[in-house]
Structures are given as structure tokens and as C-alpha cells.
């Protein structure tokens, strides 16, 4: 579930050692979101490591192995509130082997901050993360050019990186792309402006995060995947079933004409039940129990939509895929696909291409995806899925693939309902 107006969910990404954890530590520290005992603990850990200043990255690097190796292993979630907004940060790792965690953090984010080391320039990981952000439908990317202190706060270094990244992103679908020069280490342009970046007139990182519009749900169509059928019957005669679920997009009112998919049978909404009483209307993202005026055979995995705004029902799926397992895709095998509240078997019909993350070139003729590969493929499912394109609707356009043997989640998928070359 993504942000509401008063809460912004964002993620940080970038190559290893670009200073992501330090940047978040700086954001928390300078916005006075650090508690005294947390700071004392970080000061003590910094002293043990022999540093002569407080290592702000220790605020988010929580696991023993992370502190030992000085890297981020897993997504750390942080919560803070500025004077203007609540924030949920997913701090994600830059090591290539942990790219899957960046995908994890990005899947629920509305904005991504990609860090680049000013001295090193754009890296493969920076480009990969931009592509992942684009594939995951994150509308707003902020490229934070970090370690400006290490390049003498040079405007030309910043401008070179800005123009290279702008050029790289020309084919990616970001609604907004911003650039900020920062030094997380020194605190320039994160919360405070500092006095070294006088040539930069734009907002600080915190100002940008406070004022950016949270993504409004793009999907207006009512989508209600059924999670569960209540055991208790409703109504005066106790003859009415209740369908429990969350409104993933749009709104529904009593009296609306709906269709149940995949059967296509229709009915009208009789009641919208919550613990706090019946509602006349309810909107995403509310969890409710729906009652219908006609008794239909409905179970978990079915989807309720307005009869005049139907999603696609098909067992042929074309999707962009981020492969997340060390074990490569075996196109001869069946995988489980989990989509909304339904889990079914799927076979690989064909791989269209793999993306080269540096050039965005589409490599055709590939037969597998390996860890961290991104590409497009076609799947055939045992039962039809009820879908929208991911660009239109994150909830009904996303799925995961599960390896039935290991039970591992091996891929993240984003459905493309356009033609395979779209």
C-alpha cells in the first residue's frame, strides 16, 4: 500500500559505499528524530571502532554482520516525522547480491532517492536501480549526488552527472526527476543548506520530501480481491454471505452493480459491513466485508469489480520480471504465481528479452534469467488471472513467483497488458 497525503513512503538506493545509511542517519539526526539513547549507543559503537566522529550510518545498520562488515544487508525500515509530514523510509542495500531487497523496498514506495558518489560517477548499480524504480512504477526519482565534499563541492562534477543521468532516464517512465548535490557526511543540503553549495538554488532533500505530492492512486476502477468468506451469515434471515477483502482501488457504494470474476456473474452491493457499522460508500484502501443481493458462488481468489469497468481475465500473461534467486530461471519448470489473493501454477511460454542495465538494450535469444536479471517473458497459468496492467494498477498488476521445491520467492513480476513489444 502506498502513501497517503500525510505520509510519504520512500526508499533509498545506489551503489555500495555511496553513503545511503549515512544519508538517512544525517536526515534523522539533523531533523532531530534521533532519541538520546539511540545516539548514545551509536556514539559508543563509533568509539569502539576507533572513529573520531559519530558514524551516523550505524543508526540504520542494525545487524551484527552489518556492523562487522560496515555494509547494509537487509531493508531497514525507519519512521520519522518532520514538522510537515510523516515518513516511512526503506533503507535498502547496494551490494549486487542484495538487489532483491532494493526491489522489496521499492515495491511499496512513492519516491526513490538514488545516491551517486560524486567522485565515482554513475555506476552499474545506479542504472539498475533507476530501471527497477521505473519498472516498479515509482513516479518520482531524486538523484542525490553525495560526497560533494570529496570533489571540492564542484558544480561541474554535479552537472556532468546530472546530464549523464538525465540522458540515461530518457526512456524511463518517471513523472518527476530531481537532482540535489549533498554531503551526508558534512550535512550539506540534507536538512541544513550548509555554506559550501551556494551555487545550488533548489530545495534541500528534506524540503523536497516534505513538499512532493504523494502519488495519488492512479487507478480509479473498483477492484476487490476476495480474501475470505465469512463463516457467519448476515441479514435478517441469516442467509447472506459476507465477502472479506480490501478495496485495492476505486470506491464502491451500496446499490452498485458488480461482476464477480472469473465467472462474470453479476449482482448488486447490498451492504458494506465493518465493525464500526455499515457504510454507504467505501474507498481504497479500506478493508471491509461486502454483502450482495444475489447469492453467488464466490471464494478466495475471485475478484469483485464494477460491471462496467472490468479487468482482464486471461491465462496468458506478459510481464516484466526481476529475478531474485541465486538459482536461475528454468524455463522447462512450473512455478507458482501468487497474484492478488490467488496462487496458481504457471509455465514459461517464452522469454522476450533481457534488459542490459547499462544501455537499456533488449537482448533477445536468451533462455534464462539469473540473479538480478531484469527482462520480459510470457507465462501461461493453469487458471485465469484477473489483472490490470501494472502501470494502471499496482495491486492487480503485480505478482510474485515461488519455487515450489524450495518455497523461496524467486521473482517479482509486473504485468504488461499491452502487446509483448509495448
Amino acid at each position: 500500500m502506498t502513501s497517503t497525503v500525510d505520509t510519504l513512503r520512500f526508499t533509498t538506493a545506489g551503489s555500495v559505499d555511496d553513503g545511503k545509511s549515512t544519508l538517512i542517519g544525517r536526515l534523522l539526526y539533523d531533523s532531530k528524530s534521533i532519541f538520546e539513547d539511540q545516539l548514545a549507543s551509536v556514539e559508543s559503537a563509533s568509539n569502539k571502532r576507533g572513529g573520531n566522529r559519530v558514524d551516523l550510518s550505524l543508526l540504520t545498520d542494525g545487524l551484527t554482520a552489518e556492523r562487522e562488515q560496515g555494509i547494509t544487508i537487509d531493508v531497514a525500515y525507519r519512521y520519522f516525522t518532520s514538522a510537515k509530514r510523516r515518513f516511512i523510509i526503506a533503507d535498502t542495500p547496494g551490494h549486487e547480491q542484495y538487489t532483491r531487497n532494493m526491489v522489496t523496498g521499492a515495491s511499496t514506495a512513492d519516491l526513490t532517492v538514488i545516491l551517486v558518489d560524486a567522485a565515482k560517477g554513475l555506476q552499474t548499480q545506479s542504472r539498475r536501480h533507476a530501471i527497477i524504480a521505473s519498472l516498479l512504477g515509482i513516479p518520482h526519482v531524486v538523484l542525490a549526488v553525495n560526497k560533494m565534499d570529496a570533489v571540492g563541492y564542484s558544480q561541474s562534477v554535479f552537472e556532468d552527472i546530472r546530464s549523464e543521468f538525465t540522458h540515461f532516464c530518457r526512456d524511463l517512465a518517471f513523472a518527476e526527476l530531481d537532482f540535489i548535490p549533498v554531503s551526508a557526511l558534512e550535512g550539506d543540503m540534507v536538512v541544513e543548506r550548509g555554506d559550501k553549495l551556494g551555487w545550488y538554488a533548489g530545495p534541500t532533500l528534506l524540503e523536497l520530501l516534505e513538499t512532493t505530492r504523494a502519488a495519488e492512486a492512479s487507478a480509479r476502477e473498483f477492484r476487490f480481491p476476495v480474501q475470505r468468506v465469512a463463516q457467519t451469515r448476515f441479514g435478517n434471515a441469516l442467509d447472506t454471505r459476507g465477502y472479506m477483502g480490501r478495496i485495492e482501488s476505486g470506491r464502491v457504494s451500496v446499490g452498485d452493480s458488480i461482476a464477480v470474476l472469473p465467472s462474470g456473474l453479476t449482482a448488486r452491493v447490498k451492504d458494506i459491513v465493518t465493525l464500526d457499522g455499515s457504510l454507504a460508500t467505501a474507498s481504497a484502501p479500506k478493508s471491509v466485508t461486502l454483502l450482495l443481493d444475489t447469492q453467488l458462488d464466490i471464494s478466495r481468489g475471485d475478484l469483485i469489480a464494477h460491471a462496467d469497468e472490468l479487468p482482464t481475465v486471461s491465462n496468458q500473461i506478459t510481464a516484466n520480471l526481476a529475478w531474485m534467486s541465486a538459482q536461475p530461471l528454468d524455463a522447462s519448470r512450473r512455478y507458482l504465481i501468487k497474484h492478488t489473493t490467488q496462487t496458481v501454477r504457471a509455465a514459461i511460454e517464452g522469454i522476450d528479452y533481457r534488459l542490459d542495465v547499462n544501455t537499456l538494450a533488449r537482448e533477445t535469444g536468451v533462455t534464462t534469467f539469473k540473479l538480478n536479471d531484469i527482462g520480459r517473458l510470457r507465462l501461461k497459468t493453469l487458471k485465469p488471472l484477473i489483472t490490470d496492467g501494472y502501470r494502471a494498477n499496482r495491486a492487480t498488476g503485480s505478482f510474485i513467483l515461488i519455487d515450489e521445491v524450495t518455497n523461496q520467492t524467486v521473482a517479482a513480476g509486473m504485468i504488461s497488458n499491452e502487446a509483448a513489444h509495448g
Binding site: 497517503t4 540504520t60 542494525g62 464500526d276 457499522g277 460508500t281 474507498s283 495491486a395
Partner: protein
């Protein structure tokens, strides 16, 4: 916009004007997310249970379970791992709340494990907190639970900040933080091998302030020790240690009477109150807004033994 009107119009027109620190429109999506998680886990596992201690987070969990499943009975029993070193007000509250809801409460006791020799204390007055893991894992085996709902929150502690909402445990109950399943969107992979189980954390994204705001909004009762009261304590390493028969003052320590309340409620031997005059939920909310010390930092002796104590306990199967 008043509360009734908000309910009528749903969510879309919420929160566009207010930056008030105590605005609580965000509670609606936190609540809906938690309900969604509870329903998903119940649908995809065979035999879940909900950990209920009588503490504030698990009180919120019970209300969320009502929101998720009523008018049905809860599709799971409540489970408490009792160290028998709990505050009596909390245990009384636990039993009363379970009875009010008409839900089944299973209690398994650390004392039974000590009596049977499953649990060996290093010394008689050692805190039983860490030993709950043995009793918890025994209960999981006894009832063949494959999912346990817990009220842990990511803002509590740095190891918790890294945990998935649906968190896998191997057949020894262990958490492997370096090998967690990626958790994408709200699509939970609830597949297990025999003997393994999940811990499910529907209020992962809530903060301490959110919990108190929800308690205020839903008018939830909480045990009396959450509110300011007079108590005999000693000052020890920056904490106010309650004076009880289990935690007597040490030689040379002065017993003083202070106005205190508990921010967390756990085993008596490792839970400390904070100085406070907050006698109402609103007063607690006001204090929570301005506190400069984390919830566990102010109150937990068990987290102070090392920087990674929670991580180590969690790896072994702790809550």
C-alpha cells in the same frame, strides 16, 4: 471533518489540510493494512495463533482481529507465554479481556518448564525473559501452530526494523536475518516445510505514538500500570527499577517513592517504569510526542546487556 462524516465518505478526502502532530487519519490505512495482513495469514496458513500478553500492542492486535473477522469468532486461539513473573494487574486484564471477547486463551508457563527441567536457570533470580523462547517453541510444537501473530513493531528496536511482516522460522524456530524472503507489495509467500512456522507482524509499520493514538481513537481499555501511579523504585544505571519481591533493592540502594508509569509491560525482572504524571491516554499521548528516549531504551534491562541482544534472542526464536 468529523468522525462520522469521515466514515461516510471513506478515505479519499482525508488529511489534505492538517499537519497537526496528533492528526490520526493515517491510522485508517495502518488499520486497513493490519486487517489485510491478518486475513491473508489466516487464509494461507493452517493453524495460526495470536500472542496476547495483556500489553498495549497486543490489546491493539485484538481490536484489529475484531475488525478483521467479526461477526465470526477469531479463527485462532490467543496464546500467552507466562513467565509467572508478570504484574498481577496485567494478568488479571489478560484473562478479563479474553473472557469479554469470548475467545479461547491458551497459557503456557515458563515455571512448568523450570519444574520439568526443560529450562535450567543459571541462578534462581535470573530473569525468565529469555527462557520464554523454550516455552514458546514447546507450545508451537504442542499445538502444531504454523503461524503466530505478534504485536512487534519495527520502530521498537534495530533488529526488528529489519524483519519482514511475514517472517519465516526454521524447524528450530530460528530467524535467519541474512536470508529473509523478499517481501513484495502486499503479496505474502506463506509456503512452509513441515515443522517450520511464521511469525506475522500486522502492526510492523506502527510507531509507539500510533499505538496510543489508536487506543485513544478506539477507546481501548489498558491495564492500570500504564497510567501514572505511586511506586517504590530504586535508581539503577539510569533506570527506575521497581521494588518487588522478585526485584528487591540491592545493598546500598535507596528506595524512593515516585510517580511512574510503564511504557512497556513485560517480565517484572526486566521491565522498568518511567517517571510520569500522565494519568490519562491523552496525557500519555502528549508525553509520547515529546519524549527523547526510545520506548525500550527507557524501560528494558534485557536490551542493555549488549548492542545486539534483541537480534541474538530473535535468532533463537524469541518473539
Amino acid at each position: 471533518m468529523n468522525a462520522v462524516l469521515k466514515q461516510q465518505v471513506g478515505y479519499e478526502s482525508f488529511g489534505t489540510t492538517s499537519n497537526d502532530a496528533l492528526a490520526n487519519d493515517h491510522l485508517d490505512w495502518l488499520e486497513s493494512e493490519a486487517i489485510h495482513i491478518m486475513r491473508e495469514v489466516v487464509a494461507e496458513t493452517k493453524n495460526p495463533a495470536l500472542l496476547f500478553s495483556g500489553g498495549k500492542d497486543s490489546i491493539v492486535m485484538l481490536r484489529l482481529a475484531e475488525k478483521a473477522f467479526r461477526p465470526d469468532r477469531f479463527p485462532f486461539p490467543l496464546l500467552h507465554i507466562d513467565t509467572e513473573h508478570n504484574f498481577p494487574e496485567v494478568i488479571e486484564f489478560r484473562d478479563r479481556r479474553a473472557a469479554e471477547l469470548g475467545e479461547k486463551l491458551i497459557v503456557r508457563s515458563v515455571q512448568d518448564g523450570i519444574d520439568s527441567g526443560r529450562i535450567v536457570l543459571r541462578r534462581p533470580d535470573e530473569s525468565r525473559n529469555v527462557h520464554q523462547t523454550v516455552t514458546l517453541l514447546d507450545a508451537i510444537k504442542e499445538f502444531e501452530f504454523d503461524a503466530l501473530f505478534g504485536g512487534a513493531r519495527r520502530d521498537e528496536e534495530k533488529a526488528r526494523a529489519k524483519e519482514r511482516i511475514l517472517s519465516h522460522r526454521d524447524e528450530f524456530g530460528q530467524w535467519d536475518p541474512k536470508n529473509q524472503r523478499p517481501e513484495l507489495w502486499d503479496l505474502f509467500n506463506a509456503r512452509l516445510n513441515p515443522g517450520e512456522h511464521f511469525r506475522a507482524f500486522p502492526i510492523s509499520n506502527w510507531t509507539e505514538l500510533d499505538v496510543w493514538q489508536y487506543i485513544a481513537r478506539e477507546k481501548l481499555a489498558v491495564p492500570s500500570i500504564y497510567f501514572a501511579h505511586q511506586r517504590e523504585v530504586v535508581e539503577r544505571r539510569g533506570l527506575l527499577v521497581p521494588v518487588t519481591s522478585l526485584t528487591p533493592p540491592r545493598t546500598g540502594e535507596a528506595v524512593i517513592t515516585r510517580n511512574v508509569r510503564f511504557r512497556t509491560v513485560g517480565d517484572i525482572t526486566c521491565t522498568c517504569p518511567v517517571a510520569s504524571d500522565a494519568a490519562t491516554v491523552d496525557a500519555i499521548l502528549a508525553e509520547t510526542l515529546v519524549t527523547r528516549i526510545t520506548e525500550r531504551g527507557a524501560t528494558r534491562m534485557d536490551d542493555q546487556t549488549s548492542d545486539a541482544s534483541m537480534e541474538l534472542r530473535k535468532k533463537e526464536g524469541y518473539f
